[in-house]
Amino acid sequence: MNASLILCLGMVRNWVALYTFGLPRDLREGRRMEIDCDLWEQRQLAEHRREPPLGTAAEIAARALLGAISDITWRAQAGATARADRSIRMNEALYMRAMVGAGVVLALFLILSGIAGVAWYWTLVITIPIGIAMVAIAFFRARQTGGAVGIAVDRMRTKGESRWKWLLLVIGVCVATVVGIFAYLSSLEHWGGLAIASNFVGIIAVLVALSALVLLISDLMGSVRRKTGS
């Protein structure tokens, strides 16, 4: 294939990859496949008609350039529609809202336990920023797309998708919870009912963190096996 044609095809594909980046898979793949097909058909027709490759390359480049504004506006509309669809889908499901609520409660607990651990000042440095970050993420994502926790669960349920980020997030939250509980319990002179309940939450957090860690290690090992096998 002619060098100018290779360059043009590469540029168009890169442009399509750029403006479809971040869209839902069906929209993204649909547009990329459609443009790929279009480029292939144009190239085939040009070869059939024995048109000069430079002319074909120029026409492909012109088509991409002249349509760039439409690509950008399409991207903006598709992105907004996808966000709205996802938000509605995530917010409609009761259990997703429950998960978001649980995330917010957990994050608030981290902040409060961090404050309670005022005797051990270094724990404040760890738990309060993490707790604030968790609340911020939960609220920001809830407004945007239906909740970080909801998305995490949604992602984990999708086979074949990378879930390591979400496993790390779960582990991070659990570790912060345990640290917060430890700080809280350390600040108490006498253990009461709340302390026992906190202990219980701490044990659950440890178990969840361990489960997430097992999944993460299993995913990593699977990934290494696939890489070495291929």
């Binding site: 496949m33 459609e34 790929d36 097909c37 292939w40 012109a62 349509g67 439409s70």
Partner: protein, 119 residues
């Protein structure tokens, strides 16, 4: 300037006309490049419709119910050694919209003769 809801822009009219003409010729399904080629030939244009303009219009028309689309069988495309095509077809609503778009044009064309003749 915002266009009227339901009104067709010239590219949409061209796509519908070309799609219906292809159907009359026995090929009711068309892919993006084919319709761009048909539009170019019909209008004797120098360039094919730009990617962004074409696929945005097809997407919009599909959402409006003027076109419907489906991805072709991957085995068929693989058998012919080419990428999969997304095949579009003009719907009954598309035909009606085109007919509706042609009526004002016809009215506009006949208005001068239909009006009162000044002495």
């Amino acid at each position: 300037m915002r266009r009227k809801v339901g009104a067709l822009i010239p590219l949409e009219v061209s796509i519908l006309e070309a799609g219906i003409e292809l159907a009359v010729r026995g090929a009711p399904y068309f892919h993006g490049f084919l319709i761009a080629k048909e539009v170019k030939e019909r209008e004797d244009a120098r360039l094919l419709t730009a990617h962004g303009t074409l696929y945005k219009a097809l997407d919009r028309m599909q959402k409006a119910g003027l076109l419907e689309s489906e991805w072709e069988d991957p085995l068929l495309a693989a058998g012919e050694g080419r990428p999969r095509r997304r095949l579009y077809r003009v719907t009954a609503a598309g035909e009606a919209a085109l007919a509706g778009a042609r009526v004002p044009q016809r009215r506009g064309a006949t208005q001068p003769t239909a009006g009162p003749v000044t002495p």
